[in-house]
C-alpha cells in the first residue's frame, strides 16, 4: 500500500523531466518565470519550455507543442489561459505525461457554471490520459532534495517537515519562513482548487513518505470532508499533523470561496473535526511554523513540565514572572524545583535579586562569572522534575555586558549542554536593537538543534501543541494495548 502510493507520487515530487507550457522569449510571461525558477533551483533533469511562438529562454529551446519534445516528459507546469487547457490536456495524454500542474487560474473559484464544468472535463481527460492533475490555481511542488521549487532564488535545505497548502502564497511563506528559521522540508505542495489530487491525497503520501516525519497543512475547505477526516485521523496516528484552517470567520470564508472555491463550515465544526482526527490545530502562520519547528526537534513526547529560566543577566525578574504566567495559562506545568536544586542555586547566586523557584532568574550570576552562571543553568536544566527547558536570552542586554566573545561562550555552553541534557532546550531570542547579532545566534543555535522562538508566549504555545499531540498518541497507544 505505502509502496504503491510512493510510486504513484514519484513523478510529482521526483520528476525526471519537466515541461513548462506558456513559456516565451519574453521573460515577463508567467511560463518564463517557471522556467527561470527551475533553473535557479538547480533542477538537474531536462527542462522543456513550450510556447506557441518558439524561440529560446535561459538558453533552452522553446518547443511549439508538448508533442514536439524529443524526450519523455514526467511533469508539466501549465501557465496558459484557462480557455486553452483542454486541448493541452489532449497533447499531454498523447505525450504520456504523468502529472500536470496548473498555475493557470480562472475555474471554480470564479463561482461560475463554466468554471466548474471546465474542471470536470479536465478531470475526465486526466483519467482517460492516465495522468494526475495538481491544482488548478496553484504553484505546485516544492522538493529541495530533488531541487524542484516554486520560488525564485534560494531553495533551502532538505529536512523532515512536509506540508500541504491550498494557497500558493501560504506555501511560499512556509518555505521562506522555514529557510529563515531552520525548518528543513522534505517536500511541500500547493494544490489550489484540488480538482484531482487534493489535501487527502497529499497527506496520505506524506504519511507514507520516509523522508517526512512531521506534517503541516494550510486548508481552506474540502470537497470530501469525510475522506479528509479519515485521512487526517490515519495520518496523525503515525506522524504529527499540524493544521491551520483559513477562512474561519465569515469574511475569511467569503474570501476562501473566491480564492479556492471552498465551501464554508462553521469554525467550531472544523475545530471539532481536527481534534477528533488527532491533529493539532493552529491559528496562523507564526503558530504553524513555531509548532513545526518544535516538532522537528522533539521526536517524542517529553511531558508538560517546563523549567523556565527568565533572565541570564539584568531584567530577568519581570520576564521570569510573565514567562511563568504564559506557560501556566496555556496549560503547561511550571513545577517547583527540588530542595537540592534550591540549595545549590542559593549557594551559587545568593538570595538577593534572584528568583530561585521556577521560573528562575539567574541574573545575579553576572557578579560571579560564567562558571556560576553555567552551573546554575545546568542545575535547573538537570532537575528531574522538569521535562523541557525554556530559556530567554536577551541579546541586547547581554551584548554590552559580555561583548560578542562572551555571547559566543554563553551560546557554546548552551549547545554543549543540549548535547548531553537528554531533554529539549527551547530558546527565546526576542527581537531588539541588535538584530544582526541576534539573527547570527539564532542560526548558530538552530544548527545545533536548539529551536529558537521570538517570545515566551509563542514558545509556550508551541510546546503545548507538541505536548498535546504526543500525549494524545500515548493515550491511544495505551488504549490499544489495553484492548
Amino acid at each position: 500500500m505505502s509502496d504503491d502510493i510512493l510510486k504513484q507520487f514519484d513523478p510529482v515530487f521526483y520528476p525526471k523531466s519537466i515541461a513548462v507550457v506558456g513559456a516565451s522569449a519574453d521573460a515577463m510571461k508567467a511560463g518564463s518565470y517557471w522556467v527561470q525558477t527551475l533553473v535557479s533551483a538547480g533542477y538537474r533533469g531536462p527542462i522543456y519550455p513550450v510556447g506557441s511562438r518558439g524561440g529560446s529562454i535561459a538558453g533552452l529551446e522553446i518547443y511549439r507543442n508538448i508533442r514536439d519534445i524529443p524526450g519523455e516528459v514526467d511533469y508539466v507546469i501549465v501557465a496558459i489561459p484557462s480557455r486553452s487547457v483542454l486541448d493541452l490536456l489532449d497533447d499531454c495524454a498523447a505525450k504520456s505525461v504523468r502529472a500536470v500542474q496548473f498555475f493557470t487560474a480562472g475555474f471554480s473559484e470564479l463561482d461560475t457554471e463554466s468554471g466548474r464544468s471546465l474542471e470536470e472535463r479536465m478531470v475526465e481527460k486526466a483519467r482517460w490520459g492516465g495522468f494526475r492533475i495538481i491544482g488548478p490555481n496553484c504553484i505546485g511542488v516544492y522538493c529541495p532534495e530533488h531541487r524542484v521549487s516554486f520560488l525564485m532564488g534560494a531553495i533551502g535545505e532538505p529536512g523532515c517537515v512536509g506540508f500541504v497548502s491550498q494557497s500558493g502564497g501560504i506555501a511560499g511563506k512556509l518555505a521562506t519562513n522555514g529557510m529563515a528559521r531552520g525548518i528543513g522540508y522534505s517536500k511541500g505542495v500547493s494544490f489550489g482548487n484540488g480538482i484531482d489530487l487534493d489535501a487527502s491525497d497529499f497527506l496520505e503520501y506524506l504519511a507514507a513518505d520516509p523522508q517526512t516525519r512531521v506534517i503541516g497543512a494550510y486548508l481552506e475547505g474540502t470537497r470530501d470532508g469525510r475522506r479528509l477526516f479519515n485521512t487526517m485521523r490515519e495520518v496523525s496516528s503515525v506522524k504529527p499533523l499540524v493544521v491551520w484552517k483559513g477562512g474561519r470567520t465569515e469574511v475569511g470564508a467569503r474570501a476562501a470561496r473566491s480564492h479556492t472555491g471552498s465551501l464554508a463550515s462553521s469554525p467550531s465544526v472544523w475545530s471539532a473535526v481536527l481534534k477528533q482526527a488527532g491533529a493539532v490545530e493552529v491559528h496562523g502562520l507564526d503558530e504553524l511554523t513555531d509548532t513545526l519547528l518544535l516538532f522537528q526537534h522533539a521526536e517524542h513526547w517529553q511531558g508538560a513540565r517546563v523549567g523556565v529560566i527568565g533572565g541570564l543577566a539584568d531584567g530577568g525578574g519581570g520576564i521570569s514572572v510573565s514567562a511563568g504566567d504564559a506557560c501556566t495559562e496555556i496549560g503547561l506545568e511550571v513545577p517547583p524545583l527540588s530542595d537540592q536544586t534550591d540549595r545549590a542555586l542559593r549557594e551559587l547566586l545568593g538570595e538577593v535579586g534572584s528568583i530561585l523557584g521556577n521560573p528562575v532568574d539567574v541574573s545575579q550570576a553576572q557578579f560571579r562569572g560564567f562558571p556560576a552562571l553555567f552551573q546554575a543553568i545546568e542545575t535547573v536544566a538537570g532537575d528531574a522534575s522538569i521535562d523541557f527547558v525554556l530559556i530567554q536570552q536577551d541579546v541586547d542586554i547581554l551584548l554590552p555586558m559580555y561583548s560578542r566573545a562572551g555571547l559566543e561562550t554563553i551560546n557554546d555552553f548552551f549547545i554543549e549542554l543540549r548535547g548531553r541534557l537528554g531533554k529539549p532546550l527551547v530558546m527565546v531570542l526576542p527581537p531588539g536593537p541588535v538584530e544582526q547579532e541576534r539573527l547570527r545566534l539564532e542560526q548558530k543555535l538552530l544548527a545545533a538543534s536548539i529551536p529558537v522562538l521570538s517570545s515566551v508566549e509563542r514558545a509556550a504555545r508551541a510546546i503545548f501543541n507538541v505536548n498535546t499531540y504526543f500525549r494524545r498518541r500515548e493515550i491511544e497507544a495505551g488504549q490499544r494495548d489495553a484492548a
Binding site: T222, R226, F229, A264, S268, V269, S271, A272, Q479
Partner: protein, 218 residues
C-alpha cells in the same frame, strides 16, 4: 430548496425509542377522554404537550402543562392547551396532545445533530437553557462518534462542572450521556434522510439519561 418535514414529538420519540435511545414515551391523545385514559395508564402526575407540525415553540404558546396530578386536571389542561395554541397559532394543524410521565428534575442537557456541507452529520452537546442559547457553550463532533469522542464532547464544555454536581444537585452520569450520544450518532448514520435532530432537554441523572423532548426534521 428541499422542503423540510418536521416530525412531531410523538413520531420523533417513537423512532428514537425503536433504536434504543432512552426517551420519555409520549402518547398521542386525540381528545380529552383519550388524554385522561392514557394518563391513568401511565400514572399521575403527567405532562401534556400540544402535538402540531406547525407549532415550533410549544411552551411559549401555552402548549405545555406540567405536573398534572389527576384526571380532572388533565381534562382541564387539555382544553386550555387547545384554546391557547389556537390563539397563538391561528390555523395550525393540531393532531391533539401528547401525554407523558412527569419525570423528576435532572441536570438539563441537549444533544443535537445538524448537517454540515463538508462533513455531513455533526453531533452537538451542551447544557440546556441559557448556557446553550447565550453562551454557546457547546461541543461538536462529526459522526460516527466513538465513546471516547463522546466523553471528550461532554468534558470539553465550560459548564462541565455542573454535571459533576452543583449546589447539592446530584451528579449526572457521564457514562449514560456518552452512551446516549453514541446511540444518537449510530441512529443518524443509519437514517441519512434525517437533516436535523434535537433532544432538548435531556435529563441526566446519577444513573441514567433520558430525552424529555425530541424533534426530528427530515
Amino acid at each position: 430548496m428541499k422542503t423540510q418535514k418536521v416530525l412531531t414529538e410523538v413520531e420523533s420519540k417513537e423512532l428514537l425509542a425503536k433504536d434504543g435511545i432512552p426517551v420519555v414515551e409520549a402518547r398521542l391523545a386525540r381528545n380529552k377522554k383519550e388524554a385522561i385514559a392514557i394518563a391513568r395508564e401511565i400514572g399521575f402526575p403527567v405532562v401534556l404537550k400540544i402535538v402540531s407540525p406547525d407549532v415550533v415553540h410549544k411552551t411559549d404558546s401555552g402548549g405545555v402543562r406540567l405536573g398534572l396530578a389527576n384526571a380532572t386536571r388533565v381534562g382541564r389542561a387539555y382544553s386550555e392547551i387547545l384554546s391557547s395554541v389556537r390563539q397563538a397559532y391561528p390555523g395550525a394543524r393540531i393532531q391533539g396532545v401528547s401525554v407523558q410521565q412527569m419525570v423528576p428534575p435532572g441536570v438539563e442537557v441537549i444533544v443535537g445533530m445538524s448537517k454540515d456541507v463538508q462533513f455531513g452529520p455533526v453531533l452537538m452537546f451542551g447544557l440546556g437553557g441559557i448556557l446553550v442559547e447565550v453562551l454557546k457553550d457547546v461541543s461538536f463532533r462529526i459522526a460516527p462518534v466513538s465513546k471516547r469522542d463522546a466523553g471528550e464532547m461532554i468534558r470539553e464544555i465550560k459548564g462541565y462542572p455542573v454535571l459533576d454536581g452543583y449546589r447539592g444537585q446530584e451528579p449526572a452520569s457521564v457514562t449514560a450521556l456518552e452512551d446516549l450520544i453514541v446511540r444518537v450518532s449510530e441512529f443518524v448514520e443509519k437514517n441519512p434522510q434525517i437533516e436535523e435532530l434535537d433532544l432538548n432537554p435531556v435529563f441526566a441523572y446519577p444513573d441514567r439519561a433520558v430525552a424529555v423532548d425530541a424533534r426530528i426534521i427530515l
